[in-house]
Symmetry: C5
Subunit: 311 residues, 5 copies
């Protein structure tokens, strides 16, 4: 099991001297003391509107936003990524969850053919820091950058500024980086994914969330290994994508970590579109792999309820 000690946490040089311990606290909380990140992605309530939460194949429980908090609370996750408003309105009832505030968002209404994507900041960081200082368990921030968009410069400026300010305050930052825009013809090209990972490093992110590469030859996990190395000290985690069956999903995840060098996962729909009980078990199965180096067989046993998993 990949545990790390507080001494092993590399504190970036932009963390203010008196916030180094806070940064280590947050890093240890977010990674549950492992250095690896299990991110439960709940920001799609805004990004995908209600299409991911209601309809055929989706458990009816998912239409109630509190479903997300119940999963985070009862399951095993590193962080729950959600917009500030969600945390403000539900967080008082779920104080133990590690919150990663997703700082920007866009809906899926305007397509790339109409306009290149830009994801707008939902509020100034000051307000998030105020909530943290008032006792809300916020350990970090998230921000999405669309590299290759005509609005790339705005997003990298906001991301870079956010990271500098967040680090100064002892928070960790995860960048969602997706190449997208009229200039991008193959969003999952391995070289592009590796470039995106490196760009996150240059911006100073602690973790970068990318889509799994689609190579023309070799496996996705092999291609991911190049990106993971290119990310250097910025830990790479893979987006989970749309809902697939648990066995396939957990096998992919295992490969991403053990072949692809990923240091975690970022999963949303695959978890919350299920009933509460099943969703909770899936978070445990994922965490068994990500945080405890379980093999796929054991993870499936956890998912099937034949075995429990906790940290």
């Amino acid at each position: 099991m990949p545990t790390i000690t507080r001494d092993q946490v590399r504190v970036p040089l932009d963390v203010a001297p008196d916030m180094r311990e806070t940064y280590v606290d947050n890093f240890m909380k977010a990674t549950r003391g492992t250095g690896r990140l299990m991110l439960f992605a709940c920001d799609q309530k805004f990004e995908h509107l209600n299409g991911d939460f209601y309809g055929e194949g989706i458990d009816p429980a998912d239409n109630d936003p509190e479903h997300l908090f119940r999963i985070a609370d009862q399951g095993v996750c590193g962080v729950m990524a959600a917009q500030r408003g969600l945390v403000a309105l539900y967080g008082a009832d779920y104080p133990q969850v590690n919150y990663l505030v997703k700082m920007n968002s866009k809906t899926n209404l305007v397509g790339t053919a109409q306009e290149d994507p830009y994801s707008g900041l939902l509020c100034d960081l000051d307000h998030v820091l105020a909530m943290r200082d008032n006792g809300v368990n916020i350990v970090g921030l998230g921000y999405t950058v669309y590299l290759g968009s005509e609005y790339e410069s705005t997003m990298i400026s906001e991301a870079g500024e956010l990271i500098a300010r967040a680090h100064a305050e002892g928070l960790i930052v995860v960048l969602w980086i997706y190449p997208r825009g009229k200039a991008v013809t193959a969003e999952k090209d391995p070289a592009l994914i590796a470039g995106a990972a490196g760009a996150a490093l240059c911006l100073g992110a602690d973790f970068v969330k990318v889509n799994p590469p689609k190579p023309t030859e070799g496996t996705s996990a092999e291609a991911l290994a190049v990106a993971s190395q290119a990310a250097g000290r910025c830990g790479l985690v893979c987006a989970g994508g749309s809902t697939v069956d648990a066995a396939t999903f957990l096998t992919q995840l295992h490969d991403q970590i053990h072949v692809g060098g990923a240091c975690g996962n970022a999963t949303g729909r695959n978890i919350h579109q299920r009933s509460l009980d099943e969703a909770v078990r899936l978070t445990k199965a994922i965490s068994a792999i990500t945080l405890a180096d379980a093999d796929v067989e054991r993870a499936l046993a956890v998912f099937n309820g034949d075995e429990d998993f906790s940290l």
Copy 2:
């Protein structure tokens, strides 16, 4: 009658600790102690220019802006939503009205075919807070977001920032969310309305005003029930739309609340285009349903003057 106690008010986590009582005060005032919102919409003086206030089928009294204040003063409303300037110029004579300052507006001159909609902030929040601190009875703010507009990112940034700042100061916030723009082909699609409601929640709004959905099958109120659930802890209220006869209007409102799960209403033209006496009676009929769970029959009796209603 759906009364709530001060203890039952859920105070968002972004309300500053020393402003929690203020927030509860404002929430109780705005909902008249019921948790439900009866919003008298007077912002269309700007949005629709004079077309909603003068002309055929509109009582001549409506051309004088003071008509709006007289209705709010003599009728039964939760809040009167109006631009800051209106409150500044008339509020001294109507100090008991609960004001909800509508922070942004646009006229209807430039159509969506020419340019996607953006509604500009009319002043910084500081000026509204200064008025409040000088004794004006301002309980909250309103802001319009056009999801799906090419200016969506600007509006969600302004809305999110406004909510964070308003909550910190103990004010409540109502978002008007309308999907609109070249990318939006069906503004009242039920899934879109539900998405809009959820987006308001992600931004941290206390209430969201949406248009009633137009489903291809089932009733509007049934479709609304999905949106109300998707809004979670953000109370959903329906826009009243253009003037219809009182019986139809009150029946729709009753269904929105008791079938659709709405927690209030937002009505403008239907009220102010009538004579003062009739408008006052309509506010009471609406409030009888929204704030006191009256049935349609009793509400009509109130509207017809056969019965009075007060809180």
Copy 3:
């Protein structure tokens, strides 16, 4: 003669408590104690470049910018509206004039067919306040909004912010509101003029300057009466337009006030394109109507020099 007492001045609620007396001072100065506004418009030095000041049919004296100050000084006006720079460079020699600083301007070089109009702020309000605090007799501000322009949102944001800040400091504000842009097909449509007047009220302006409506039936003054009522507590004044003979001009003005419900006038070219002596007499004739309820006959006597007028 429509005199008012200091007690009758309605102080807007956004005037800071310790600036209420200053606001009343400025309102009384600007309206010469009548509640009506005689505005001498000198901002077209920028708006129309030199075309209004030099050429056929224009008195040669008008090419020297000091001509404007001499008229304001020797004639009878409520306020002289001019850009900050003009006040800064000439004001020391004309300290008794009531200055209304026109805060934004644009030239007439780029037409609406090329680009929708936007009139840019010429400096921050702080600089105007500094001049006022150093003793310059600045009683208020002016700002132009082109409703229906694609830049409407920027202008209403700047106007709303300016009004809030100006009121807080005890200054009055006059908005010039003109519907203009590719979306506006009939700039002087009565409903549009009434809407513009109401929009100024929503922004909190003390006075709104509009163009006289051109109705398809009835007189302009009758149509103006609807707009004046729609403006509510925001006093409506009419733009003077291009130079016409004095009798026609004064008759129109009398109708605007006594039929159209206007509470003043805003006149530029009609005054300054004349010789100093004639221009001075015209300001007195206008003020006789606007500020002293003179009839047209008496005003013409003043213009012709058969009678003097002073306050």
Copy 4:
């Protein structure tokens, strides 16, 4: 010789009370105690890139930027106009030169056919003030406005703000105003030049630099007289244009002042494209006309080295 006393300097009302003496100092320095301005324009190092400084017909000395400082130091000028960077890097070796910091610039690479001109600010005024406060002999600022450009509003906002701030700090301001953009068909139309001059006055500039008008009838100097009058208390100076022979140049200059009412000149290429010795003599010849009311004959004698000129 047009000398003025300190008492005769008209201090604008936006000069802070405790900066009035500083303003008078700077005005007297810039005009060498005459009220007239001899401006040595060195900002084209950026505006025209290296084309004005190297090539056929240009003295090789001109390729070294220090050439400009040597001329300013050894010749007779009122001010040397240059970007802040030039002053920062050479000013320590030429401490006696009166510097006028050109605050904005653009290169000539993008033509008007591609995009209307905008000249961007090169830094905040604070940095220039800091240099001044640390002892650099900065007496004023320059800023270019392209009236009629689609970016006119941005430039007039920046210019107006700059003037207000500069005056408050006791600095003088020269505006370069050129009508330019797709909407401008005749940049040197006399009415347009006069309008530009008046616009500078409305913005509050101390001096305005315009191109000499090209009238369809009458001389350029005669047309200039209208513009000079329209500029009022804002002193008008003419741009020197491309290099012509000294006799022609000095005759034009004499006419601009004595027929056209100009109160100075702004000359660049005509000076610096010559050898140091010749350039120095030309500054003296120009200054003889501008600052000492010399006739052309005497100025030519100075240029030819037959007579010296100093103040």
Copy 5:
């Protein structure tokens, strides 16, 4: 060997008086006491994404970002130019390297045919200063300007502001200036390169990095001599370009300095695409020429390991 003393360092006038010694320290560090700059360019991790770091002809070591730091640490460089994030995440392990923080960047995804280039600021300077003040060995800043882009005005504004602020704090600044955009047909035209160099001077940069000119007649180094002179007191350094064999590369560099008047070099790919050992030797060979006036033969001996080089 071109050594300079601290007294010979020309401190720009925008360096704050109490930061003059800091500026001299940084200038001496960056130039290793020679006045010449050997800049190891590591910003292309973002600019070129992963294409410069992984693939055919590139040593596999280059895919790990730490490779860059190992080279800077073990080789001989003046400064290592890299984005703030890279310095924050690796700098603690390489504290002796002189860091030049590259303040803006763009990816190569959107081509000039689609949109003119703009390179966005990655964070506010405050954050870089905070790192410096906390002990990170940051000696200066870098910023890229695309002259001739439709976004030129934004970049020159940001560059000018950055230089003013950086100098005030005692940091040196290197500008990367590339003419690029739809208006630029020949990016390496000698007159354009010379103009770019002069523009950097006008902005106040300490050094300017340009591409080697491509003249239609004469050598590139001869054309460079004009640009070096036009840059005046702003030291000109040439970009290294894509990887070529060491002999060619070192010969070009020698010519740039001794014929072209360059005062240094800026090299990236040519160094880091090699194995660590070879890359380290190349930095020494380059520095032998740049910092110690070695001839090509000696530099090649250093590169081949036949001779060592240190300062």
